[in-house]
């Protein structure tokens, strides 16, 4: 971070102060080289024993461009580095003196205005890693000191003696993500309807025969077979529930929409789900054709994201107060656009935190961007600090269990 700190002469701080009087309220000891953005007020005590709270983690795979989603219009380098794809400040939503949201996030504005949506900028892995795959592994394993392939969501749902098979789920996917890998059994399913045993509805012998086959079957396949038979039972209330989204929620007709609709239905059915992982393979890896406000991949991806997240909270209604949703990417993208209206792999990114317990607004320390070919968004907040805040305050988990050896810093986005 040394170089980045050097560059940060804090012009942006000045810009920001002009328009955002709340800047320094409640913030103590900010260094001269960085500024803290946020609506941090007085830290309120949180309820000691959260019950029935749910965490939904939406992974924006391929890596979203955080600078397009939450635009630092107050940083001149953003416009210098992106002559073709930068979004004009006048088009931004929820604009303050420094940041603004992509116009396609309009469906989320009711949540934003209600103070139920936070954007934490310049988050990411502690060191740059431009490989999708290595970055995803590191991000989701989240235990750099250990060679064991255990994901942070697996540690989270395995933190105590709970044996509910549906406590941790991957929704809308057939292959469990790395964050769910590990010794604690979790359930990954493509849809609600998939959670049934073919042939068992009208034939009780079927289940008996399957128990004979799978009861002592060895290896991973044996564990998989037994988990499937157990999960079908536990999931029955969800299958019996209404498939129609509630409160007139309108999801997009895409994978993310289906996964979030299934998640809301599962949460409503009260089967004890606590953690749901959802993937958004929404074409975020925009090396080419990220585009502008008239055309391109960012329009499509941001529309899907915002419409679906908004529909999810509409669907949940008042239950949404118990459900906290976090978005995450394996890395951010380069500051400077390439020759194809696209962006190569970068480092820092934005994380959105929505719903239950969220204190809305912009968060994160900002270091002035550079407009050079290789410039990244410098990471000032380890992504684990954001996640740690959610899992400790909302789920009552300990940071030491979920992120071994990690010392989080306070972000302030969750109460």
């Amino acid at each position: 971070m040394g170089d980045n700190d050097q560059r940060s002469a804090c012009h942006e701080c000045d810009d920001y102060r002009i328009s955002r009087r709340t800047l320094l309220r409640g913030v103590i000891g900010i260094g001269a080289t960085t500024a803290l953005f946020g609506t941090t007020l007085v830290q309120t005590a949180y309820a000691a024993a959260p019950v029935g709270n749910v965490l939904v983690v939406v992974s924006l795979r391929g890596a979203a461009d955080g600078l397009s989603l939450v635009v630092p219009h107050g940083d001149a380098a953003y416009y210098k580095a992106r002559p073709n794809i930068a979004i004009p400040a006048t088009k931004l939503l929820a604009r303050n003196g420094f940041f603004g949201l992509h116009p396609n996030l309009a469906p989320l504005m009711p949540l934003w205005k209600a103070g139920r949506m936070a954007a934490v900028h310049a988050t990411g892995l502690p060191a740059p890693n431009r490989s999708h795959f290595a970055a995803m592994e590191e991000l989701e394993d989240a235990d750099p000191g250990s060679a064991a392939r255990i994901g942070w969501l697996n540690r989270l749902v395995g933190r105590d003696s709970s044996t509910n098979v549906l406590r941790g789920m991957g929704m809308g996917m057939s292959t469990p993500i790395t964050a769910l890998y590990g010794p604690r059994a979790t359930v990954t399913t493509a849809s609600v309807d998939d959670m049934s045993l073919a042939g068992a509805q009208d034939n009780p012998r079927r289940t008996t025969a399957m128990r004979t086959t799978w009861g002592a079957a060895p290896g991973e396949i044996g564990r998989g077979g037994r988990a499937a038979l157990a999960a079908v039972n536990a999931f029955a209330p969800v299958r019996a529930s209404a498939a129609q989204p509630a409160n007139g929620a309108k999801y997009a007709d895409d994978d993310l929409g289906r996964a979030l609709a299934a998640s809301a239905r599962t949460i409503r059915a009260g089967v004890g789900v606590e953690v749901i992982a959802v993937d958004h393979d929404g074409g975020w890896d925009m090396h080419t054709g990220l585009g502008t406000l008239e055309w391109g991949a960012m329009l499509r991806a941001s529309q899907s994201l915002s419409q679906n997240l908004a529909a999810f909270y509409t669907d949940l209604g008042s239950r949404g107060d118990k459900v906290t949703l976090v978005t995450i990417s394996e890395f951010g993208r380069r500051v400077k656009e390439n020759a194809n209206y696209g962006l190569d792999h970068g480092h820092g990114n934005v994380m959105f935190v929505l719903g239950g317990g969220v204190k809305g607004g912009y968060y994160g320390k900002w270091t002035r961007l550079a407009a050079t070919d290789d410039a990244d968004v410098p990471v000032t907040t380890d992504y684990r600090s954001v996640l740690a805040e959610v899992v400790t305050k909302r789920l009552g988990a300990s940071t030491a269990t979920v992120f071994p050896g990690f010392k989080p810093v306070t972000v302030g986005a969750v109460r």
Binding site: A217, I221, G342
Partner: protein, 515 residues
């Protein structure tokens, strides 16, 4: 492996007396009451079944006869590796779908006219791959084609790459048993890969890093080789020039004006790269990468994970890597070394079948024969949706690292339940129904009158290539409500309407779902 799969002997008290009796007598061929009539079909020795399970779409009695005709598994494997082996099914089925033999301009025209949207053309290529994996006589070639198509992965839904996808796959197949260097040279410069990883639009002014990076990270040396971000940049620079005029004329050409010139260095590779035509530099670079020890390790490990176990020993990987390097990246010597290893022989049943492998194996196990698609929803087309239902069509993995190949990825609740559903659909002949020939229930009776226990053994040999175990026999009894001694004829419920229930007992097993 059947020993490992069978449950440990249970206390006799847990076993119905009739079942206990049969379980014992089943172990003695040509014994017991019905033995005079029931003749078990011949199956392979366990080690040969293991080879077959790893290098084909799955056991069939017909395959057993081919292996016998070849003088055994080793002779059969050598035949399969030979370039001159007959390839009739591939040739005969290339025209089952127009798109698989069409040029890019034809694909474009058909896409524009909506006679065949491009996604459908790619879907047809995947269907052809699945049909070949079921029925091709070149089973080992199809297996290796699938391996390389996954290693050098270009997803089915990769926008511009779709117009070149079938061509890409056929190119890989033609080289799948040659050398990795030949494969790499052709794959990396192919317009499908260029379009997918953006090299087709890369310029000398701003080389696009996508392919240059994945070439190092995924296709060849891997991150452990220690390349730097500067190496990635140079990798991208070397590859500039292989252009496709996407979404316009679609011309594929090497454009010297787009090639970045100047000295390049990647790891220990250096090239002056002075010529505007950088193809020689690119060839030298790809050759260097293919022959790099880190690439040897990467390919060796990937082969070992595919064909041996999820966690192969470093000794085996090292040995395969040595053979790879000693033979100029030739593939066949590595495969022969692999199947000759004790580690391979000890790994029977240790791999979970991926979704596409499950569907292919299910067709083979049931003796379901695809026909040329002509009906509205023929099986040869529906088969793609069957793999989708299981969570992964052949080239559906959305990222360039190719679909995972270890058990943890393929034993999710969703996948297990979806497999059970597909097994039932096919056991009943309920989906797909058109363009496929299923074995009729009565035709599964080896003799007109047979004890249920013997019938289970017969089906186990036909479907799974091995004798019935105690657990399998018990599960069949549970599923149908028969005892092993129950007499089965064509008039019995098992034949008249319960056959789907019985067949799922064989398909919904760890045995069928592993290889």
């Amino acid at each position: 492996m059947s020993e490992a799969r069978a449950a440990a002997p249970s206390p006799a008290a847990a076993l119905p007396a009739t079942l206990h009796h049969t379980a014992r007598t089943l172990g003695k061929p040509a014994a017991a009451v019905k033995a005079a009539v029931y003749q078990p079909i011949s199956i392979l020795a366990p080690e040969d079944l293991h080879l077959v399970n790893r290098f084909t779409g799955g056991w069939t009695p017909a395959l057993g006869r081919q292996i016998a005709a070849a003088g055994g598994a080793a002779g059969w494997f050598a035949q399969q590796l030979s370039a001159s082996a007959p390839d009739t099914f591939y040739q005969a089925t290339a025209a089952w779908w127009t798109s698989n033999t069409a040029s890019t301009s034809t694909l474009l025209a058909r896409d524009r006219k909506k006679t065949e949207p491009i996604w459908e053309a790619v879907a047809n290529y995947e269907r052809w791959c699945l049909a070949r994996r079921i029925h091709s006589e070149r089973q080992v070639l199809e297996t290796m084609t699938a391996f390389w198509e996954n290693h050098l992965h270009v997803p089915a839904e990769a926008d511009a790459a779709q117009y070149f996808r079938a061509s890409y796959g056929k190119t890989i197949r033609a080289l799948a048993l040659t050398s990795f260097e030949r494969l790499l040279q052709v794959a990396v410069t192919h317009p499908a890969m260029g379009c997918y990883l953006d090299n087709a639009q890369s310029t000398k002014k701003a080389p696009n890093e996508n392919l240059g990076r994945e070439l190092l990270e995924l296709h060849t040396v891997g991150r452990e080789s220690g390349y730097t971000e500067n190496d990635v940049k140079n990798s991208a620079r070397i590859l500039t020039g292989y252009r496709v005029d996407v979404w316009n004329t679609w011309n594929v050409r090497y454009d010297p004006t787009a090639h970045w010139t100047g000295t390049v260095k990647v790891l220990d590779f250096e090239h002056p790269n002075t010529a505007a035509d950088g193809q020689a530099a690119a060839r030298a670079y790809l050759s260097y990468l293919a022959n790099h020890p880190s690439t040897a390790q990467r390919i060796a490990r990937k082969l070992a994970i595919r064909f041996v176990s999820d966690a192969p020993s470093s000794e085996l990987v090292d040995r395969l890597a040595e053979v790879y390097l000693a033979n100029g990246t030739a593939i066949q010597p590595v495969l022969l070394e692999l199947v000759d290893s004790a580690e391979f022989r000890a790994a029977a049943g240790a791999k979970v079948r991926t979704p596409d492998e499950d569907v292919v194996a299910t067709y083979r196990a049931l003796g379901a024969n695809l026909r040329r698609p002509s009906a509205a929803t023929p099986a040869a087309n529906q088969i793609l949706w069957q793999t989708t239902a299981l969570g992964m069509r052949p080239f559906g993995w959305p990222r360039p690292d190719g679909r995972p190949d270890q058990a943890a990825a393929w034993v999710s609740v969703s996948r297990m339940l979806a497999s059970f559903q597909i097994h039932q659909d096919m056991a009943g002949g309920w989906w797909p129904t058109a363009g496929v020939t299923y074995v009729q229930p009565a035709a599964r009776l080896p003799i007109p009158t047979i004890a249920f226990g013997d019938f289970v053994d017969h089906l186990s040999r036909s479907i799974l290539g091995r004798p019935a175990t105690w657990v399998l026999t018990k599960a069949a009894c549970d599923a149908i409500g028969c005892a092993p001694t129950t007499t089965i004829t064509a008039a019995h419920d098992v034949i008249r309407w319960k056959m789907p229930r019985l067949l799922t007992v064989f398909l919904d097993t760890p045995t069928h779902m592993t290889r």
